[in-house]
Amino acid sequence: MSRRIWENDWFGPLLVVVVAVAIVGALNPSFLSPFNIQILLLAISVNAMIAFSQMIIIAIGQMNLSVGAIGGLAAIAFGGMMEVWGIPWPIAAFLALALGLVAGLANGVLVAFTGISAFVITLATLSAYKGVNLGITEAQPFYEIPATVKALGNETFLHPLPWLIIPCVVVALLLWYLLNRLPLGRSILAVGGNEHAAELSGISVRGIVITAHAVSGLLAALAGIMLVGRLQLGQPTIGDDWLILSFAAPVIGGAILSGGHVSVAGTFLGVAIVAIFTQVLVLFNIDPFLVQVVLGVLILWAVGINRFREVRAQRHAEQVAT
C-alpha cells in the first residue's frame, strides 16, 4: 500500500483539525482548558456514533434517512424502561440496542426484498419510527434517569477524558477492523463499489444490504442511549437534528456517496471538525445559526476535494494508458 501520506483520506481533515486547534487555542486559551476539551470530546463521542451509523450505509451506496428516528426511539425506550418499569440500566440499554438492531433489520429486509430504493424505504420508516416514539411519549420526556447513567454521560474517568469516549473509540476500532480486515466488511464495500461484480463473485448482495442496515440501526440506537446519559433526559426529540451531520462527517472524511469507499478515521475527524467549528462560534459569540451555514460550506468543500482527486486520478490513469 505504497500511497503517500497526503493521499490518505484522513490527512486533509487532520490538517484542518490541527490548524483549527492551533489558531483557536492561540486566540482564546480557554479553548484548550480541560473543561472545554471535556465538552468537546462529549460532543464528538455521541456525534461520531451518529456519523458511523450513516457511514456503514454510505459504504453500500445507499442512504439511511431514519438514523435519527431509530436513535430517538431507542433513547425513549431506554428512558421509559428505566422510569416506567424500573428495569436496571444495563438491561434497559441492552434492550434498547436490540430495538435499534430490529429497526435497522426491518429497513434492510424491506430494501433487499422489495427492490425499492433505500431512500424511499427509510423515508417511510423514519416517519413510522418517529410516530411510535410520539405515541409512546406523547411528546413528554422521561425524567427519571438513574444517577449512574447521568454520571456516565457527563463525567470523566481520567481527566479530561469522558466515559462516553470509551464506546466511541471501541466502535471506531471495531468498524475499522470490520471494513479493512474481515471479509464481511470487504463485502460491504464490494457491494457499494460494484454491485454486479460483487454478485458475480458469490457475494450475497441481499445479505450484505440487510447486515449493513442492521449495524446502522444498532449504532444509531447506541448514539441515542449515549445522548440520554449526556442530556440526563429521555427526550423524544433526540435524533431530530442528526441527518445533516450524519452525511456531512463521512463526506468530509472522504466517503463517496455512490458507495464503495468510506474512511473510519476520516469520518471521526469529520465529526471533530464540525464539533470544533460549532464550539468556536459559541466561544466567539457568533450567531449559532451560522453553524448550519459553515456545515454546508464544509460539505461542499469536502465533495469538491474528492471530485478534484477523482478527476486527477482518471487523468493519471489515461496518461498511463497512452
Partner: protein, 509 residues
C-alpha cells in the same frame, strides 16, 4: 488437440418482436482461439449471454465436456469453468488487485480475518503467470485499461476457467498492449484453455484466431471452421452477405439539387481526418463502413456533441459553427435518430406524446413559456398518424411499445421538429422484417419530400435499398464514394473493395 470442449446445437432465442438467434451452432475445441464475428445486431452478444447463463435458449442444447449443460445463471456458468471478460469493467474500483482476483473466496468465511500477506503473494503468482508488472496491493482504479483487462483475465483463470470469452478485449488498447495481450492469449491456448474472441478488428482476428464462427441476422453464416484459406474479403462477405430481397426501386440521381449539408476537409476531436461529404436536398447519402469506422461519431460531431477541430461545415451553402445539439436542432434543423434508441433516442418512461414533442417544446412554448398538451398534440399527432405508430393512446409509455413502434416514435419526433436534414443511424436494429420494409418506404418518402438524409447502416442490403449515393468510411476517414446502381453484387463488391483500400494505403506507409 481437436478435442471438443463446448458445443451449442440448434440454439434459438427470441425476444418480443425479434428473433435474436435461430438454429445457431458453435463448437469450441481445447487449446484454440475461436473468433465470433458478425455485425451489430447479428446476435453475438445474445449468443455470449446464452453461453454464460444470462439468457436461457428457447430451444437447442449446450454440451460442456460431453455432458448436457444448462446453466441456471451467470454464477452457475462461472462455477462450470466458463469465464468472461466483458467490455464493461467488472472489478471493484477501490479494491486492490489481489482482493479483486480472490473476491470469490471472500464470502466463504465472513468473519475470518483476511490474510493480506498471503492474498497478495497468491495474487503475485497469477500476475507473474500473465507477465503483469504491478503491485498486487495497488487499487485497480489506478491501473491502465490494459492492466485492468489482464487482472480480469487473472480473476477468471483463478476460478479454474477452462473456457474464456473475451468481448472486444482490444477495443481500448494501444497496439503495443494488444501485442502483449495476444502473447498471453497464445500462451493460455497452448496450456489448453479454449478462448473465444469477439472483435471488430479483422486484422487481429486473422492474426490470432484458429477458428471462426460468423453470425448474420441471428444465423450461422459459417460455423466453427478453420481460418485457413479464409482471407479478409471472404470474412467480410460472410459478415455482410446478402440476406434479403432488394425492393425494385429505380436508381435516382439527386445530386443536382441544392446542397443541404456539406463537410469540407473536416477533422474532429475524436480523430476523424479529411472528411468530405455532401448531402443534397432530397438525397439519401449512405455512410457505410464496418463497426468502429467512426460513422456514428461523425454524426454526433455534426450534431455539435463533439468538437470539430478543422475544416468547415456548410448548411444550405452557408458556413456554420454548430456548438451544441440545441444549436443543431433549433437553428439549423438537423435531427439525429440514434442507433441506441433505448438510452439515447427516447425517454422510455415518458409517453409517446412527450417523446415526440420534446424537440419542439421550446418552439411551441408561447406566452410566459406556457405550453399546453393540446398545442403539442396538434403539432405532433399528424406525424404519429402518418407513421402509423401502433399505440393504444398517445399517453402510452414508449417503453411498452414494440421495437419497431419505438423506432417510428423516434423518427416521428424529428418529423414533428420539421428538420431539413436528418441523420438516421442504424434504423432497423432490433425490428422485424415487415416493419423494416415499412420504415424503408418511409425514409424514401421523406427524401421525396425534400428532406436531406444521411443514412448510417451496417446492413448492406438496407444500404443498397435506400441510398442514392454511398460514402465508404474506414478508420475515421472517407475511403471513397460511389453512386448506387442498385445492383447488389457489383455494389457490394465495390464497397468491399473500398474498405479494403485501407490495407493498401496502410501497406504503403
Amino acid at each position: 488437440m481437436n478435442q471438443t470442449v463446448f458445443h451449442a446445437e440448434g440454439v434459438t432465442k427470441t425476444f418480443p418482436g425479434v428473433t435474436a438467434l435461430e438454429d445457431v451452432r458453435l463448437t469450441l475445441s481445447k487449446g484454440s482461439i475461436h473468433a465470433l464475428l458478425g455485425e451489430n445486431g447479428a446476435g453475438k452478444s445474445t449468443l455470449i449471454k446464452v453461453i454464460t447463463g444470462v439468457h436461457r435458449p428457447d430451444s437447442g442444447h449446450l454440451t460442456l465436456n460431453g455432458s448436457a449443460f444448462e446453466p441456471s445463471g451467470p454464477r452457475d456458468a462461472i462455477g462450470h469453468g466458463i469465464g468472461v471478460v466483458h467490455q464493461e469493467r467488472n472489478l471493484i474500483p477501490r479494491f486492490s488487485i489481489g482482493e479483486n482476483i480472490f473476491l470469490e473466496g471472500l464470502s466463504a468465511h465472513p468473519l475470518k480475518r483476511i490474510d493480506y500477506k498471503k492474498l497478495f503473494s497468491d495474487a503475485r503468482e497469477w500476475l507473474d503467470l500473465l507477465g503483469v508488472d504491478a503491485d498486487p496491493s495497488m487499487p485497480v482504479d489506478r491501473l491502465s485499461v490494459a492492466k485492468i483487462q489482464l487482472v480480469e483475465i487473472a480473476k477468471a483463470l483463478s476460478l479454474n476457467s477452462r473456457i474464456l470469452l473475451l468481448d472486444e478485449p482490444t477495443a481500448s488498447l494501444t497496439p503495443h498492449e494488444t501485442d502483449t495481450l495476444f502473447a498471453i492469449l497464445r500462451r493460455l491456448r497452448d496450456d489448453g484453455v479454449s478462448l473465444m474472441f469477439v472483435s471488430h478488428k479483422l486484422e487481429e482476428v486473422q492474426e490470432i484466431c484458429d477458428q471462426v464462427t460468423v453470425l448474420r441476422d441471428g444465423r450461422n453464416a459459417c460455423e466453427s471452421r478453420t481460418l485457413e484459406g479464409l482471407d479478409r474479403q471472404a470474412i467480410v462477405r460472410l459478415m455482410i452477405g446478402r440476406s434479403e430481397q432488394i425492393p425494385d426501386w429505380s436508381a435516382r440521381d439527386r445530386s443536382t439539387g441544392d446542397a443541404a449539408l456539406q463537410l469540407k476537409d473536416v477533422s474532429t476531436s475524436l480523430g476523424h481526418k479529411q472528411i468530405d461529404l455532401t448531402v443534397h436536398k432530397g438525397e439519401i447519402v449512405g455512410l457505410y463502413g464496418l463497426v468502429g469506422a467512426g460513422r456514428s461519431e461523425l454524426a454526433k460531431a455534426i450534431m455539435g456533441k463533439f468538437a470539430m477541430t478543422g475544416g468547415s461545415v456548410l448548411v444550405k451553402g452557408k458556413q456554420v459553427d454548430i456548438r451544441s445539439v440545441a444549436d443543431a436542432v433549433g437553428r439549423y434543423r438537423i435531427g439525429y435518430v440514434s442507433e441506441d434508441r433505448k438510452s439515447e433516442g427516447l425517454v422510455l418512461m415518458h409517453s409517446v406524446l412527450e417523446n415526440v414533442g420534446m424537440p419542439i417544446w421550446r418552439r411551441l412554448a408561447g406566452f410566459a413559456h406556457l405550453l399546453t398538451n393540446r398545442t403539442v398534440r396538434r403539432h405532433t399527432e399528424p406525424f404519429i398518424r402518418k407513421l402509423e405508430v401502433r399505440t393504444p393512446s398517445l399517453e402510452q409509455h414508449v417503453g411498452n411499445l414494440s421495437g419497431g413502434n419505438q423506432q417510428k416514435v423516434s423518427v416521428a419526433k424529428w418529423l414533428a421538429a420539421e428538420v431539413e436534414i436528418l441523420i438516421v443511424d442504424e434504423p432497423s436494429v432490433g425490428i422485424d422484417i415487415k416493419t423494416k420494409a415499412y420504415l424503408h418506404e418511409l425514409i424514401r418518402e421523406l427524401s421525396d419530400n425534400g428532406t436531406a438524409l444521411l443514412l448510417i447502416t451496417s446492413d448492406m442490403p438496407e444500404m443498397i435499398t435506400l441510398a442514392d449515393h454511398i460514402v465508404v468510411m474506414n478508420d475515421y476517414r472517407v475511403m471513397g464514394e460511389i453512386d448506387n446502381t442498385r445492383d447488389y453484387d457489383t455494389m457490394s463488391e465495390r464497397i468491399m473493395a473500398l474498405i479494403q483500400g485501407e490495407e493498401t494505403v496502410a501497406a504503403g506507409v
